[in-house]
């Protein structure tokens, strides 16, 4: 049962433009959401998180938006840089359960 879904396996964006990565979830008990970036042969690197009591969190070029009514999460990267090219995973934690659910990832390619 895939409770966190990333429906776009890949995304290609021009350098300097905005990258928008999307994530949908099904479990309304999720209370904490995270985005990770993964380069080949490395473990996922934490990027940014958001609690379910907020609808937006910003950290430099990265902004995460949470729409609880739509059960939708998005990551905006502005401006996109070639070094941002990687696989991005969204993850969610269920309230009171020590378990994180990950999406299948979106491969972002930022073209110079």
């Amino acid at each position: 049962d895939q409770q966190v879904k990333q429906n776009s396996p890949s995304l290609s964006v021009q350098e300097g433009r905005i990258s928008i990565l999307n994530c949908d979830y099904t479990n309304s008990m999720f209370d904490y959401f995270l985005w990770y970036k993964k380069y080949p042969a490395e473990g996922p690197t934490f990027l940014i998180s958001i609690s379910s009591i907020k609808d937006k969190n910003e950290d430099g070029r990265f902004t995460v938006f949470l729409n609880k009514s739509a059960k939708h999460l998005s990551l905006h990267i502005v401006p996109s840089q070639p070094g941002d090219s990687a696989v991005y995973f969204c993850a969610a934690r269920r309230y009171n359960f020590n378990k994180f659910y990950f999406g299948s990832g979106t491969k972002l390619n930022v073209k110079p």
Partner: protein, 111 residues
């Protein structure tokens, strides 16, 4: 500060064998979680330990077991290996039970 470390980096085993993977968390982190990642999928949760106690378990068979030591390092054990156990095994540590920081992973190949 050093990040999460895992050993070994790569491992090749044959079906039916046993394997032990090791993880050292970031200094000061008391929680360790284990994940399995197969190609084309996101990490799948296996176990979480906090203060040496199991706090969460994913949908994996009893062939998978883990433990956490007094220094908060952890081992993941897999018995009776199957071809389908071939994957990248990731360890993540956290100070509490929120944001997790991942190690580089152990690539296990079962022949």
């Amino acid at each position: 500060d050093a990040g999460v470390t895992q050993s070994p980096t790569h491992l090749i085993k044959t079906r039916g064998q046993h394997v032990t993977l090791r993880c050292s968390p970031i200094s000061g982190h008391k929680s360790v979680s284990w994940y399995q990642q197969v190609l084309g999928q996101g990490p799948q949760f296996i176990f979480q330990y906090y203060e040496k106690e199991e706090r969460g378990r994913g949908n994996f068979p009893d062939r998978f077991s883990a433990r956490q030591f007094p220094n908060y390092s952890s081992e993941l054990n897999v018995n009776a290996l199957l071809l389908g156990d071939s994957a990248l095994y990731l360890c993540a540590s956290s100070r509490d039970l929120s944001t997790q920081y991942f190690g580089p992973g152990t690539r296990l190949t079962v022949l």
